[in-house]
Symmetry: C2
Subunit: 336 residues, 2 copies
DNA sequence: CTGAAAGCGCTTACAG
DNA sequence: CTGAAAGCGCTTACAG
């Protein structure tokens, strides 16, 4: 590989020179403002841009404007299929709005969430998406930074500090459990996170109460395959094993399925399962998972649009969930 | 939420003023050079930084230096578990080197790979990681940009344009198939991508030839759950169904497992399966997948380190694979 | 509709 | 060891 002499970058001045205008005019045409430009002049500039292969220097623009067209994204763990799919959808939506995504995993070693946000802010991000659960204090700090922020997939955003969007976890969970009780199962357990603010456990309880059924057992487990596996082992070994389980995530459900299989339990014949998220992989387990789907693409789109438009309307924007019926719940009529 | 008056940003000048030095000196201490600074002065500056909560403006620094401490990453599809895990590992490694990751999915709608690279370059990235298969022409274009680039997980990088790193796909595949033939299976099929440069199909053929066995059938399928499912259906329906299958990715294998289950075939009793990648999820299918693991964390670390150190040594750096034995191949002694 | 010029917040040769 | 100053490539009030 011969030494690449990086060609001198072509700058706005080059374009100005070639098209015989000032750099200001080049800016006006490239940014469509803030001043109008005569059509002939505009054409000349555009032509020069084409000829020179000019591309604006994003750093210079960011410095000058005080903000970059980059959106920072903090996510607990991007390996998690749900977040991986959310990320992908956000990326898609970003292109449509000329933005790019600066991604940070909050399970990083030596950095607190607030530290990470500061880091992103120093990089002049024009918006921030947080797909993680923040404490009120953390939210307050983030809000004080004055950069457009959106909490995505928080259990609640009604604490007033930051605008948030997501699904109605409580109603979605109820939807899942209603379906299970609709199958006639009277003993439905919950497997999911231990956080009190997680509305899914409440939705599960709502459904049971409303159906006049006793509260089943509640097993708290990390949101991971391993968490699901461990919970599933505990459930399988329990003499008072439940007839059905509502899992707070597809990933947990996959772990559950493995544990039940290991224990020789059949799903749904011995234990029925319904989960949450609606990730792609839920369709490829056997039995395939009946799951409460979150509208990932729609949420991603709305998130980027809001950040791009600078719509900082506070409060929680709710998106609808949809029950995707497959086999793990006991429905026989479904495709797989 | 009351209107946040974004506090005027504290700049290098503020720090200089407070500590009674010039902004140059502030730079020297913050960057540890290029000039030495007296210890007392350094302490005074550091103290001022602390007091003011000063954070350098990354855009200004990038403009001034001509390069940002951001690493661009182009990945085919970040939803794919293997890439999701690679991304996560890269993020981890990035923090350790004070870098951040600008991520772009190359399955984006209206943007060619080259277009995307230009986009990233305009953002002053200091390095580029490409986890995608580029044509020679594309590689040439990218190389001509003069920014440190690393091809990760390419099937081959020996074409001389760009440095590359990854696993020895051919040897890894052979390892998998050797294991299968070691079980006594004489009819081993391949399921994987159609790209001729993909060395996994060759490794499969190598193993069979070396074992004196006839070449099994080769089914080309997209790298996705759906691809695996479709291939699995075809295989299950085939009267001359193979006794074992080597799948080019865990994701494909998951689809295979679903199809075999639907067809009433038992794995490994009726069809044995070994796959490639070693993603986490491979441990949670039932039966659990025997798979050829790629050293994801090690590769990610090496990638970031090389880019951070500006080590643009050409050629292909090979990482070792490791066969992780579980149940899908027919080994009974394993844990799950 | 167009241009000259200041300014964004850094880095770094140059001079002392 | 420290400082004054030019320069990185944009944006945008201000003047015409």
């Amino acid at each position: 590989m011969d030494e690449q002499h990086r060609p001198r970058k072509v700058t706005r001045a080059d374009v100005a020179r070639l098209s015989g205008v000032s750099t200001a005019v080049v800016s006006y045409v490239l940014n469509d403002g803030p001043k109008p430009v005569a059509t002939v002049t505009r054409e000349r500039v555009l032509e020069a841009v084409r000829v020179l292969g000019y591309r604006p220097n994003a750093a210079a623009r960011a410095l000058s404007r005080g903000t970059a067209d980059t959106i920072g994204m903090i996510v607990v763990d991007s390996r998690n299929p749900f977040f991986a799919q959310l990320l992908h959808a956000l990326d898609r939506a970003s292109v449509r709005h000329g933005r790019s995504l600066l991604i940070v995993n909050s399970d990083r070693e030596r950095q607190s969430a607030v530290e990470q946000v500061h880091d992103l802010v120093a990089r002049q991000i024009g918006g921030l998406i947080i797909a993680d659960v923040l404490t009120e204090t953390e939210q307050e700090v983030v809000a004080s930074l004055g950069i457009p922020t959106l909490l995505v997939n928080q259990y609640t955003g009604a604490n007033g500090f930051l605008p948030a969007m997501g699904v109605d976890f409580r109603a979605g969970a109820k939807q899942a459990v209603d379906h299970l009780t609709g199958h006639g199962y009277r003993d439905v357990a919950f497997v999911g996170g231990a956080l009190a603010i997680d509305q899914r456990e409440r939705g599960w309880a709502d459904a049971l109460r409303e159906a006049g059924l006793p509260l089943g057992q509640s097993v708290h487990a990390p949101f991971s395959y391993e968490g699901g596996l461990a919970a599933g082992r505990a459930i399988a070994a329990d003499p008072a094993r439940p007839r059905a389980v509502f899992a707070a995530s597809d990933q947990i459900a996959v772990g559950l399925l493995a544990a039940f299989s290991d224990a020789g339990l059949r799903v749904p014949e011995d234990v029925a399962v319904v989960s949450f998220d609606g990730t792609t992989e839920a369709a490829y387990t056997r039995p395939a998972l009946t799951t409460v789907a979150q509208p990932i693409a729609e949420m991603a789109d709305a998130a980027i649009r809001r950040l791009a438009d600078g719509d900082g309307a506070p409060g929680f924007t709710t998106f609808p969930t949809e029950l995707v019926v497959r086999r793990s719940c006991g429905c026989e009529h479904s495709a797989s």
